[in-house]
């Protein structure tokens, strides 16, 4: 009996040490998070309905894009409506580079990222001289023009989606979206991308630039008075957001093996959904983005469709369709969050944590700070 107790005590100590190790190293937390996400994705792929894995991959990819957008919206208070258009640029750009010019996957990705950053720089320089709200107008125009350009030229398949057969890494390993095993690897790539995005954004937020962003988000005028060049940091935030959008587009192409279409994927609606992820998840919170994506993408995809089938089971409701309800759900969530819960859904979790902790430590609950 005593030996058992001793073993248990040693085990508990070891677990406590591991938890402390992870707690001290945020990078480890993100790696852990990414690994967990990969195994969830893998179990969906190996489960009964592998088609759901597409939605799960979308959640992860939109989380990455939202991380970049968070820097723009949460930290510098700017709205971009061209996020989806930048994702479209990168999927079509990758497609053209890889299929028409037979460029190596990694080189193509690099070119696309640099191009997106350059485009972000151009749009930002032209629109950020004016008041902050003008960026939204300029990006609305960019999204509109990019959509029309895709529809007008054959190189972009007139805006329709174009498939790629497979993706070749290092000239020998090739992954095809049709093969079950390969899709697990592709999910792994998306998960690695997620970890990478989290770590990069974490480092940006904790760097001196991140503190400048934080200052701007608290008070524009105070930041200006402290000698922070607000325009330069806003430009930087917009460039990072476009690069992250392009990165998300690359991962979309990698996983879906299709460019997606302008009308169904890279439209204003998706830009608004990405905005909703940032707002609902909780501005300025990094884990909030994953939570936001899970709410905004996950709930309509995983719950509305089964509910529709459930309703159709009743006689008079045979032809009922819940089309459009996902947008209304997202729109209402944006408005309700802005009006009543400005710190977003992540606040619920941090409050819960505080309540639990204070229960165990017998301290009065103080309510959580925004994560």
């Amino acid at each position: 009996m005593q030996t058992l107790q001793r073993i248990l005590r040693v085990l508990a100590q070891a677990i406590r040490k591991i938890i402390k190790y992870i707690k001290d190293r945020p990078q480890m937390q993100y790696i852990l998070l990414g690994t967990v996400m990969f195994f969830i994705g893998r179990s969906i792929l190996l489960g009964d309905t592998p088609s759901n894995a597409d939605y799960f991959a979308q959640i992860l990819i939109y989380t990455i894009v939202a991380l970049g957008l968070n820097l723009l919206l949460g930290f510098s208070g700017l709205v971009s409506l061209a996020t989806a258009a930048f994702m479209g640029i990168s999927t079509y750009g990758m497609h053209i580079l890889m299929e028409n010019y037979e460029v190596n996957y990694f080189l193509a990705a690099l070119i696309v990222l640099i191009f997106a950053g350059g485009l972000g720089l151009l749009v930002g320089v032209l629109s950020l001289k004016m008041q902050g709200i003008y960026l939204a107008i300029a990006t609305l125009f960019v999204a509109h023009v990019i959509g029309e350009l895709f529809r007008s030229f054959e190189a972009f398949n007139y805006g329709e989606s174009a498939r790629i057969s497979e993706i070749t890494f290092f000239g020998e390993t090739s992954l095809s979206g049709y093969a079950q095993d390969d899709r697990i690897y592709l999910m792994g790539i998306v998960a690695i991308g997620l970890i990478l995005a989290f770590v990069v954004i974490h480092n940006i937020v904790k760097s001196p630039s991140g503190r400048a962003f934080m200052a701007i988000s608290r008070s524009y005028h105070a930041a200006l008075a402290m000698g922070i060049s607000v325009r330069r940091y806003r430009l930087l935030a917009f460039m990072i957001a476009t690069i992250f959008a392009a990165f998300g587009g690359i991962l979309y192409l990698t996983y879906m093996q299709s460019t997606g279409s302008v009308d169904r994927n890279w439209n204003l609606e998706l830009s608004l959904i990405l905005l909703a992820i940032v707002v609902v998840g909780g501005m300025k919170s990094l884990p909030g983005m994953l939570l936001g994506a899970a709410i905004i993408i996950g709930i309509p995809e995983f719950f509305f469709t089964p509910f529709e089938e459930f309703l159709q089971g009743f006689g008079p409701l045979e032809n009922i369709s819940l089309r459009g309800f996902d947008d209304i759900f997202t729109g209402l969530l944006i408005i309700l969050t802005i009006l009543f819960y400005p710190y977003g859904a992540i606040r619920i979790i941090s409050r819960l944590k505080h309540t639990v902790q204070s229960k165990f430590q017998n301290k009065p609950s103080k309510g959580g700070d925004a994560a």
């Binding site: 919206l73 208070g77 700017l78 709205v79 409506l81 320089v125 032209l126 629109s127 001289k129 004016m130 008041q131 902050g132 709200i133 003008y134 939204a136 107008i137 300029a138 609305l140 125009f141 509109h144 023009v145 029309e148 350009l149 007008s152 030229f153 005028h221 008075a225 204003l268 609606e269 608004l272 959904i273 905005l275 909703a276 707002v279 009922i320 369709s321 089309r323 459009g324 309800f325 996902d326 947008d327 209304i328 759900f329 997202t330 729109g331 209402l332 969530l333 944006i334 408005i335 802005i338 009006l339 400005p342």
Partner: protein
């Protein structure tokens, strides 16, 4: 290029400019009175244009009567949006938050337009509504057949715009709008019912957007569809920025300039260069952005004072 082509371009640009001016004035009205950049202007107009198209299609009423009914629903839409979403945000909400609110409204309206429950599925079926005046009614102007409908739309817009300007400049309520636009807190302290002013601004903006939608739909490439006014809205925002958000007249003037540049540019791009007309849009808007880089508050605007 002969005279008849010039006449054609001129009337096209007047038509485009009128539609953009209607949508743009709505955006400026809302911006001035509630300090919100209303990105939902296009969606509000579209959803009510659908109502007009459906009533004309289902009941056989003329497009004139259906337009009047749609203007009623537009008024209601504006009031409801102001009451439910904008006013609770209050004066303390930052401009960005109000902007995000209007983006949420776009999603809700898009969702409603995609719904397929009961009457809604039929209501929001893409269709081509009739023109105000049948396209067979034409008039010869300098060797070019111009539709009376085009002339009517231009005349109607100019009449509406002048009426609104007169209203803003000459009446007590117009004074209330101008006072609210210049300083809301002071206006409220002086006894101006700013809430009513804001509500009316939203309602009028919704009605202007609806007229723009109904005027545009018969000749739009895809007819009535949820994305009907997106292009118009982009132009309207550019007109508002280009003319200066700080004036009511500037955006309307800029709308006609942009309408002319777009019509001429698109015609030239497709007939002389054989390129898709969107390239013309791209070049024109880029030039406007570059002009705005040097004159950030528009050609008629002045820099607002900044207070800490």
């Amino acid at each position: 290029m002969d005279i008849s082509t010039i006449i054609q371009i001129l009337f096209n640009s007047l038509r485009t400019g009128s539609i953009v001016a209607l949508a743009g004035l709505g955006i400026v009205l809302i911006y001035r009175t509630s300090k919100a950049t209303n990105f939902a202007q296009g969606s509000i107009g579209t959803i009510n244009a659908f109502v007009a198209g459906y009533i004309a299609h289902a009941t056989g009423l003329s497009i004139w009567t259906s337009t009047l009914i749609a203007l009623g629903t537009a008024f209601l839409t504006g009031v409801i949006i102001d009451k439910l979403f904008i006013r609770p945000a209050g004066r303390t909400a930052s401009p960005v938050n109000k902007q995000i609110l209007t983006l949420g409204i776009i999603l809700i309206l898009t969702g409603i337009m995609n719904m397929n429950i009961g009457i809604l599925g039929d209501l929001f079926t893409p269709r081509y509504p009739e023109q105000f005046i049948s396209s067979s009614e034409r008039v010869m102007i300098l060797g070019r057949n111009i539709q009376w409908n085009t002339i009517f739309i231009v005349a109607l817009s100019i009449f509406l715009l002048s009426a609104i300007f007169l209203f803003i400049q000459k009446t007590r309520w117009g004074l209330a709008i101008r006072v609210t636009a210049s300083n809301e807190t002071a206006a409220r302290l002086m006894g101006v019912p700013t809430k009513t002013v804001t509500m009316i601004a939203w309602a009028v903006a919704a009605m202007l957007g609806t007229i723009a939608g109904i005027a545009l739909a018969p000749r739009a490439p895809a007819g009535l569809n949820p994305g009907l006014l997106i292009g118009t809205q982009v132009s309207a925002f550019f007109a508002a920025v280009f003319g200066g958000f700080q004036s009511f007249f500037g955006p309307v003037f800029a709308a006609y300039i942009i309408g002319f540049l777009l019509s001429a540019g698109r015609y030239g791009m497709s007939s002389y260069f054989g390129q898709p007309s969107i390239i013309a849009d791209l070049i024109i808007y880029l030039v406007i952005l570059i002009i705005l880089y040097f004159k950030p508050f528009g050609i008629f605007g002045k820099a607002p004072e900044r207070k800490v």
